[in-house]
Amino acid sequence: MGTQTALSRVAIPWRRWVHPVAAWFRQHFGDTPLGSWLLGAAVATLLERLFGATIAYYLGLGSVPAIFGLSIVLKTPALIPSVLVFVLLMYLLPTLLVAKFTTPLFLRWEERLSTRVYVLLHVLFLFLILYFWSQVDPYRLLVLRLLGINILLTLSLNLVNGWMGEFSVSVAGFMSVGAYVSSVFMVWGFVNDDVFGPAFFPESLAPLAFPLSLVLAGAVTAVSALAVAIPSFRTRGDYLAIITLAYLFIVKSTFENLDFIGGPRGFMNQPEVASFTVVFVWVVLGIWVMHNFVTSTLGKATNAVRDNESAAEMMTVDTRRVKVVAFLTHAFWSGVAGGLYAHVIGYINPSSFDLRKSAEILGMLYLGGLNSVSGSILGPVLFMFLSEILRPFQLAKWLVIPVILIYAMVRRPRGLMGFQELRVPFLVRRRQAQEEARAHAVAGD
């Protein structure tokens, strides 16, 4: 109660400024579709890629601010005006202009293009935005690729923790199996290395074989996940949580004891095959596949197992199959994410996949929200964003992030998007039309 009144007192001077701006925005951009915004942002990031460094230099910023200048602002407040000008000039202005001028075009496309083409167009724009943005500085490139990996991990974990309602903590274990399998495959096959000797195949084939190594990594991880899936037939809740915990410890300890892949010292020399484009494609593929699964009736049986397992059995659902599929899908994509991670970082060791890593992914998951694809994207984005703007504060980062997460959980115990999805107006309209047609077909019978 106390905080609420305090907040509203603070909010009063805000209103005077926010309301006119919001009204202006609504008047001019009320009907601007998402596609225009994405295209605008793509143009803005392209401009930044071309002229960002020059403009940053003249504004006295030294180099292009890495993440919208937020960490600069926190560190040296004197640079706030320069950062504001940079953000205005580089991001806001081009985005707004392009969005405004392409609005009619996109509105026309919305009418004419098929849903699939239109969605693909959005994904393409998103790719361009992130691609241009990542080309400016290697740090951004690294952060974006790690973000993609975290999205895969969070979404796949959501299958088990959200859609199936279990509490699995083995995600870091799955990740490490995938990371080691794909690393061993790639280093043995395509790298001249002191451990595995000369490359078995020509090195130039490495990028082509990388997807294969990821699929292999995912498959091996999925098989190893049977160790968790089979006990889940008979037990659930806390005990299953412990089984997943034991799995995590066992996997970590196994890798520590395997000397031929470095034991506790770790394993390196992974070829540089995980470019931004590769990671992006895999992340989009993963989101697409898992989204397909959870929206299918076959996938919704996972929800039935969560909400009432015995009723699910009685309604012809093979609950064992459902559990195996959920765990193995989770493991597969976590394994793929692990393979990507190994090649992005270029070095892995058993302790990079400890309980802390799992806790981090769990944090992203519960921040974003259970049972939600968009939540599984939003969670990692927010978490990484926070963690990166707090990076200059080093240790203190891990004091601030827990506090923010606790606050978020207290305010929204089901996460930001728990049991909801982001509603893109265009898709909502199409779905409603479809829905009406179906209802109508039945009513007409």
């Binding site: 596949v289 397909n292 699964f293 299918s296 009736t297 076959l298 996938g299 919704k300 049986a301 929800n303 039935a304 969560r306 909400d307 009432n308 015995s310 009723a311 699910a312 059995e313 009685m314 309604m315 012809t316 659902v317 093979d318 609950t319 599929v325 049972n371 049991f419 829905e435 179906r438 209802a439 077909a441 039945v442 009513a443 019978d445």
Partner: protein, 256 residues
């Protein structure tokens, strides 16, 4: 051939004998009642037939096949549908999704379809959607299709549960206290409703009920359980006068 035949069914929970030497022959199209005081073992019989418990002794034969010891979803696939005493809907799903998931064993696409959204999957989803909506319309609950079930009134939830059981395409429907928590008016309505679905879906119905008036009005044949033993069996008229039944129900007769 009887639709369902149960021979010498006996079940022990640890040292407690919940059901003893239960026998039954259920002919197609029948409406059969199973009554008895609280704790008589009625729901245990249902749980044994549907495969939730493995019987200690006895055989259960459905449509000529021995189903003893099979897993519940296998038995459900063979054509035994069921509702529960206290509703067991999937509370986070919409009414429509509740019914669609019950089509699980009839889904004609596999994991590839589920993961990659193939044409076969889209067509199959359309078919299931259409069938589920049809079912809802037949039971007069189609206007609630997109409601999350936990937000629906109790009576509607009961109908959704029956619709869900019907979606599994049962030959035999087991109803565990279908009128629990209902007013007399709703009870009469439910009676008509059960007769309606039997006709419409060509069902055999076996139900557990507490309310004597309901059972007497609906069932052609009634079996009475007490402490796991069958104490009487016969048409409603006979059961009403049966001395053993009156004795077993003595405490509860008042509210008949």
């Amino acid at each position: 051939m009887p639709l369902l035949e149960i021979k010498h069914l006996t079940h022990w929970f640890g040292g407690l004998r919940a059901v003893h030497d239960f026998n039954l022959k259920l002919e197609p199209g029948e409406i059969r009642g199973l009554i008895g005081p609280n704790g008589a073992g009625k729901t245990t019989v249902f749980n044994l037939v549907t495969g939730f418990y493995k019987p200690t002794e006895g055989r259960i034969i459905f449509m000529g096949k021995d189903i003893t010891g099979k897993r519940p979803h296998e038995i459900a696939r063979m054509g035994i549908g069921r509702t529960f005493q206290n509703l067991r809907l999937w509370t986070h799903l919409t009414a429509l999704d509740n019914i669609k998931v019950a089509f699980y064993s009839q889904i004609r696409y596999g994991l590839v379809g589920a993961f990659f959204n193939t044409r076969a999957r889209r067509e199959e989803e359309e078919r299931i959607d259409h069938e589920a909506r049809n079912l809802m319309k037949m039971l007069g609950i189609d206007q609630y299709a997109n409601w999350v079930v936990s937000g629906l009134p109790y009576g509607i939830q009961r109908k959704v549960e029956i619709a869900r059981a019907l979606a599994t395409k049962p030959r035999l429907l087991l109803l565990d206290e279908p009128t629990a928590g209902m007013s007399p008016a709703e009870m009469r309505e439910t009676m008509d409703f059960i007769l309606f679905i039997r006709e419409k879906f060509n069902l055999t119905i076996w139900l557990i009920e507490h309310k004597m008036k309901f059972v007497m009005g609906l069932c052609e044949w009634i079996q009475v359980l007490n402490f796991g033993e069958t104490i009487a069996e016969g048409p409603p008229k006979e059961i009403q006068r049966h001395p053993e039944v009156i004795k077993a129900y003595l405490g509860e007769m008042v509210e008949l």
